[in-house]
Symmetry: C2
Subunit: 338 residues, 2 copies
Amino acid sequence: VISMKQIARLCGVSEAAVSYALRGKPKVNPRTRDRILAVAEKHHYRPNALVRSIQNKCSMTIGVAFNDFGNEYVGYILRGIMEVLHSRRYQVLIIHWETVAGEGPHILREMAERRVDGILMFPHEGTDPRTYLAEMRVFHAPMVLLDRKWPRCRYDMVGSDDRQGGFDLTAHLIALGHRKIANLHNTAQSRSEGFRLAMRKYGVPIREEWVVQSPFEADMCRWTRQWLSAADRPTAIMGFNDEAAMTIFSTAYDLGLRVPQDLSITGFGDLLVGRNLRPRLTTVRQNPMQIGRRAAQLLLQRIEQHPGRDTNMPDEPEHILLPTEMVVRETTAPIRKD
Amino acid sequence: VISMKQIARLCGVSEAAVSYALRGKPKVNPRTRDRILAVAEKHHYRPNALVRSIQNKCSMTIGVAFNDFGNEYVGYILRGIMEVLHSRRYQVLIIHWETVAGEGPHILREMAERRVDGILMFPHEGTDPRTYLAEMRVFHAPMVLLDRKWPRCRYDMVGSDDRQGGFDLTAHLIALGHRKIANLHNTAQSRSEGFRLAMRKYGVPIREEWVVQSPFEADMCRWTRQWLSAADRPTAIMGFNDEAAMTIFSTAYDLGLRVPQDLSITGFGDLLVGRNLRPRLTTVRQNPMQIGRRAAQLLLQRIEQHPGRDTNMPDEPEHILLPTEMVVRETTAPIRKD
């Protein structure tokens, strides 16, 4: 890229004159200005945003830390984030947990060196937040957590009301007569908390052997197969998202069980992955675009409030949970009276 | 963030001394150096990568232009990209086509101002490349295209051999006795080119009314419904990816047709979205992680060759197509002789 110095040499003027002309200041005479602008245009001059960043102490860059590349739910959150940040002229640096895992809190130093103005962070499933807490506390810029809390992190968080969603699905199954309900959950606890609340509220005993943390597909297959092969088996299995529901569905299919006649299944998310399941999937609709938008707006607000503060932890962290909506379709049915 | 100037003031030394100490140069006496390092540590000093970028004329940043947030195939390509770039200490700026669409080539100027060292670009479906070509030609840094060509763009491209994949699936259907084969394709033509090649090679007439460009779900449903409701209907429908195959499957299911007895279906990608389909999906496996890795490696190679070149177009653009592999499962079967 051509520099201001090079333009100055080509035009036979000072670098200051070039700088004035390019910024539209009136200190250069019109003919010189036009000559400078013509040379800049011809050589495709582009101002250096890095210099501007240093001068303004503001890089107009946000780091987004996430892991699930190719996950539809995360994708919608990112779209909401991009929409808001782009409208405010911020750019986004990717921090990919999977790639940087094992390097520990180092990645926050890299973001500090690049002077990001803030970070939006999906807490990493499987990373102990304690290893990051010390670095997060001394990080120079605000952070907002996405989708889930991280224990002991007193930061803002924007997610969806998954506990209510889990409660609604469970209450729906109980209303259909189910009492033997299994719950496959991931490391985020909210959905299974909702499950437990509903079970207790309606006096249905929780079978702990059917409540299992199992974020990976192979494990879900194994648990589902084991449960459904037993004489005393669940009449309903709740997946922690629509993909999990698909896995439960195909495992039941392979065992010769019909959905919903022999087994009711619920998902979570109402995403594309489950939309073509037949029978149609009973699930919970979230609002991921809106989660992304709210989180980005909150972060920008914190960035504006930040200068002069000693800490990047807000005095009163906000926990914003957007409402969910149960969508009853065909994979749940009244229990059969055999 | 504390600056070198502030550290200098706190330690009562010159800024140069701080700079030497922080960079481990021997020009400062050990006691002073230790005092400087202690102050830097205490105040969480972080070097400013923006300054380093300007000094080195190298921002260690790559722009990645893509659209399908939440698409599994794109997600794998990104993982391959991140793996290579991270190992070389590059960071990634997101350019989200959907967000910037309508602004035209402006986005390339933004990347030029931020002095990215190169761009990896998924050509945007639905954007006329001609509107970008002029800006691309004067862009200051190399670019590599991902997954598909853009007409008239003489840049490197890394993708998969989709034509061969489309050919293999079509030949497979023909071998099963199918002659009435419909093909739903997206704007990338390679897969349907493979379809046409196979049809011609084996002397099966192509019914043009059954070869339709239809990237969106609602249109795919409509076409599939229309074709399958007619008296003279296709016995096989090829989706351009696994999601499309899922849509074809659920539409056929809703019409009371059985797969594969009444209709054979093929996908493309062998992704999670299709893995839980029952019967199991016949599809083509690509190698998206490897596409991402190769593209990132090629871009870094071009960046190394770039300094001093007048153009960011390579003299001999490479078109790397990674091999595909057909995976025959249960959604394709011999045609019924009624």
